[in-house]
Amino acid sequence: MMSTENSMKNESNHLRRILVITLVLSIAADLLYWFLVGPHVPPGTMTTSAHDDQIDFNILMVIALPVLIGVWVFMGYTIANWSSKRANVAEPKGGPAARSNMKAQVLWITITTVVVLFLAGFGIVELIIGNGSGGGEGPNPVWEPAGAAQAETAALTSAASWAPGKVLVVQVIAQQWKFTYRYPQFGGFETQQLILPNNTTIAFNVTSLDVIHSFWAYQLEVKADANPQENNVAFTTTKQLGNFTVRCSELCGIWHGAMFDYGKVETPTNFSSWAATTESANAANTADLPAFAWTYVPDANGAAGGFYPDGTVTPYSSVEVYGAKQAAS
């Protein structure tokens, strides 16, 4: 009777020690992480999606750290106390008690289930209130910021225009191995520069002319695969002035590693004047370009890379007009 009590006391001692060490280390690690590391976690705070996803990452980390620490402390405790090399390690006891413990099993499954369901719920809420969190939502986004649908609908018409405070529609056209950008609200000019106005909701419409690429505006926290003949829309709202990096993050052939460039967030005034200047400077080129559409398909010479007009071919058109798209040269 005495020995059973002793061993039970012993047992609760081991578990209590493990629990206390875990708790102390977890709280310390979480606090250190949240205040010292968290604010610096990429991708920073340049846009709403960057800021939200940073918080999301940090919350996951605050939950993950105690899990990591708990298992590591348990393992460490085990190694320190129950190694056969230690002099006075008790012989282990087999039998039913060592084979299963309903309380421990139920507790473990309950805790992991609760944590997992919380994380899934939290992630879903963040995804929805973050309007897709900067990820590509495909051609028919279900989570859109206010005004985005109207701006997108208007973008295909000649009436499209932009003023500070409105949603800016930017088309990202990926091809081996560079990105170009079209601004439908400024006459649909195409440029290799990605300039964005600050404090503005941007609707990126990402498509590709050849293989699958991925448009990753790193500091903006926007990532959307560029698929041929598919429009992939991602939203974010700029919050800070500055430069950002654009990289391709889907393997797209041998020069994939060199497919990167830089963009810039400007004040709305500077942006407007840059856009107006570029629009007029590029007017002749823009006239040669196909009409602005969400996606572009190769022309009859497409296999050879003939995407641009040669006088007899209509190279770009929307995927909605299947069958009518290819005039042979």
Partner: protein
């Protein structure tokens, strides 16, 4: 339940008895140079390749810009198909079906003594197991050398050693060969060798299919490297269309390579599942089956059910590239999303094909070195089945940013995070078994403990990836790369090493050197973590996968990772040296049961006779009654009556 009374051993024994004496000596086993073996297989494969290549150029001769251009996908496709058929003919894998096809009585493959059986179409599952050990190590070392090349290029932020074309070729070959290796690294060698021994069977259900799965696995190695003369393939192991459609004939080697390996995977999975279900000894009820067998069974189920998708997807790709179909060609009515979905519908179960056997090994050897029963056996088995089932419902998390229907994202986020519940069971099982144990830190145990450390990091970062908002940051970057190296290398490969150190004494009768084993473990463990942990940070700082250039401020981290990777490579040299030293140069005879295991596989004679058990054992209980006073006997081996019953309590073994 009194199984022995209900199912007499005699009838079981006769049903698994060796094939009846045959009419003549088969071609596979004929002595001397008249026989079929690896040499004839190579000759037949080369002849097949040449013929297929010629045929491909002949049938495309109406297209002068393709035929004999050196860029003829049809020629490569036919060459590889004929090479594989030649290889199978040459090794003798088709003798039996061909004889049956023409209505003749087929020769039975008899067992050959001596080392030459390892180079033949041998039906003994123990020979196939050892063949697989060498096979997967060949894949592993090749892939490892390619990894060294990748890390060499990444020493500098600009291109400096390899050109971008060569670099992407190396990356693609590394990924593909390692994935192929990982599908079979445990199921092939250890599954084939030990499953029959652990369930008390004399053989596999389909010995010819078992031998076929190994030899076609080796053919896959040749097929995948046949891309090299064409400049490899530029798509990485994921092979995304339309890049796949755009690539040269090397792509055919990738597509057919996966199809060939896929045949082997399906064959192996089918055979092992059938064996486990039908060939358990009397008394080996589902609640007494060793946990490793549960892991292999769930893996085999995944192999059988998931691989056909890859096989079909690969053949669609071959058709696109040869006869100009348009499965994946968007502008002709196909869809690049079709490949993404088919590939990952296979690819995600594949991830668990690579995780479950590792869990099985760890759970199997933990009780041996803790001298405690396996904690929560039923939870462990349920966890493996749960993982296997759920793994079919998560694949779209690879496509979160691809532009597929966003409505599905919450669902796939939920299913992906749910799968961490059954995956977490393995930690419950491990921690419960370690609790108040008496742990012997032998080399296999060190590797098993390391699996918990590494897989925990791999698993937790998997939850980060499954969260769609965080996925926007980490998708397609080095964070993912690090995550899956932590699960596959940190989990599967460490578990394989644990299994190898644990079971090689049984397989070869020779002990691995302990000192070298410890050196191997510590260098591998430390440098594995030093190589891959920085990659999480590199990924968060914005480096995408498969690039040869990166931001200059990431050079220090990349160099640190590269140098650690070279030292990690060095740890494999220690392993190789240990293998050579302990197996060939200075072999030390292994005791019959060096780890005092209770497992049935250790109760067989040493070396294991061709038919494993003199009599089919009758199983009395599960093999985890360590440190239990008055534990029931594990099994009646039927040798010399009840006096020889194997004790199942840990202490009385010695």
């Amino acid at each position: 339940m009194t199984i022995s009374a209900e199912r007499p051993t005699k009838s079981v024994a006769s049903s698994t008895s060796p094939p009846s004496p045959h009419q003549g000596v088969s071609w596979t086993q004929r002595p001397g140079w008249l026989s079929q073996h690896m040499g004839t297989a190579i000759i037949a494969a080369v002849l097949g390749y040449a013929f297929g290549h010629w045929l491909g150029n002949y049938v495309t001769s109406g297209y002068p810009y393709i035929a004999n251009s050196g860029q003829n996908s049809s020629a490569n496709a036919l060459a590889l198909i004929f090479a594989v058929v030649g290889w199978l003919l040459g090794i003798g894998a088709l003798n039996y079906p061909l004889a049956k096809l023409v209505g003749k009585e087929a020769d039975h493959e008899t067992s050959v003594e001596g080392w030459s059986k390892y180079f033949r179409y041998t039906l003994d599952h123990k020979v196939v197991g050892l063949q697989y050990v060498v096979g997967v190590l060949l894949f592993l070392f090749t892939g490892g050398l390619l990894a060294m090349a990748i890390r060499t290029e990444l020493l500098s932020p600009t291109t400096h050693v390899f050109g971008p074309g060569t670099y992407i070729e190396i990356v693609s070959e590394h990924g593909t060969i390692m994935m192929m290796m990982a599908t079979s690294i445990i199921l092939g060698p250890l599954g084939n060798y030990f499953v029959p021994l652990m369930i008390g069977s004399r053989r596999m259900a389909f010995p010819r299919i078992e031998a076929f799965s190994f030899w076609i696995f080796i053919a896959g190695y040749g097929v995948i490297f046949s891309a090299l003369p064409y400049g490899g393939f530029p798509t990485g192991w994921t092979g995304y269309a339309p890049l796949q459609t755009q690539a040269g004939p090397g792509m055919i080697s990738y597509l057919l390579g996966f199809a060939v390996i896929g045949l082997g995977m399906m064959a192996a999975g089918f055979n092992i599942a059938a064996t486990i279900i039908n060939f358990r000894a009397p008394g080996m009820t589902w609640s007494r089956v060793p946990i490793f067998v549960w892991a292999i069974l769930s893996t085999a189920a995944l192999l059988t059910l998931a691989t056909p998708t890859l096989f079909a997807a690969g053949l669609f790709g071959v058709l696109d590239k040869t006869v100009q179909t348009a499965f994946y060609v968007t502008e002709h009515g196909g869809s690049s999303y079709l490949w993404e979905n088919l590939f990952w519908f296979f690819g995600h179960p594949e991830v668990y094909i690579m995780a479950l056997p590792g869990f099985g090994i760890v759970a199997e050897i933990l009780p041996v070195f803790t001298r405690k029963p396996l904690f929560a056996y039923k939870v462990a088995a349920a966890g493996m089945i749960g993982v296997a089932l759920l793994s079919f419902f998560v694949w779209q998390h690879h496509l979160f940013q691809s532009g597929i229907n966003p409505d599905m994202r919450p669902l796939f986020m939920l299913t992906t995070e749910l799968i961490s519940i059954p995956t977490g069971f393995i930690f419950l099982v491990g921690m419960g078994t370690l609790y108040k144990a008496k742990i012997r830190f032998e080399v296999p145990m060190l590797f098993a403990m390391a699996v918990f450390f590494n897989f925990l990091i791999g698993g937790v970062t998997g939850v980060f990836l499954s969260d769609v908002p965080v996925n926007v940051t980490v998708h397609g970057g080095f964070f993912v790369l690090s995550h899956f190296h932590y699960t596959i290398m940190g989990g599967l490969l460490f578990a394989f090493m644990a299994g190898l150190y644990y079971w090689l004494p049984k397989m070869t009768g020779r002990m691995m050197n302990k000192k070298l084993g410890q050196w191997h473990f510590w260098t591998m463990f430390v440098f594995f973590n030093l190589t891959f942990f920085p990659m999480f940070i590199i990924g968060l700082l914005g480096q995408p996968r498969r690039v040869f250039t990166y931001a200059k401020n990431l050079q220090m981290l990349n160099d640190f990772s590269s140098i650690s990777a070279f030292l990690l490579g060095f740890s494999f040299l220690i392993f190789f040296a240990n293998l050579m030293w302990s197996m060939y140069i200075k072999p030390v005879k292994a005791p019959a049961n060096p780890w005092d295991s209770l497992g049935l596989e250790w109760q067989t004679a040493n070396p294991v006779p061709v038919y494993n058990f003199e009599r089919i054992p009758v199983i009395m209980t599960d093999p985890y009654h360590y440190s239990e006073v008055g534990a029931p006997a594990l099994a009646d081996l039927g040798v010399g009556g009840s006096g020889d019953r194997v004790s199942s309590s840990g202490k009385s073994d010695k």
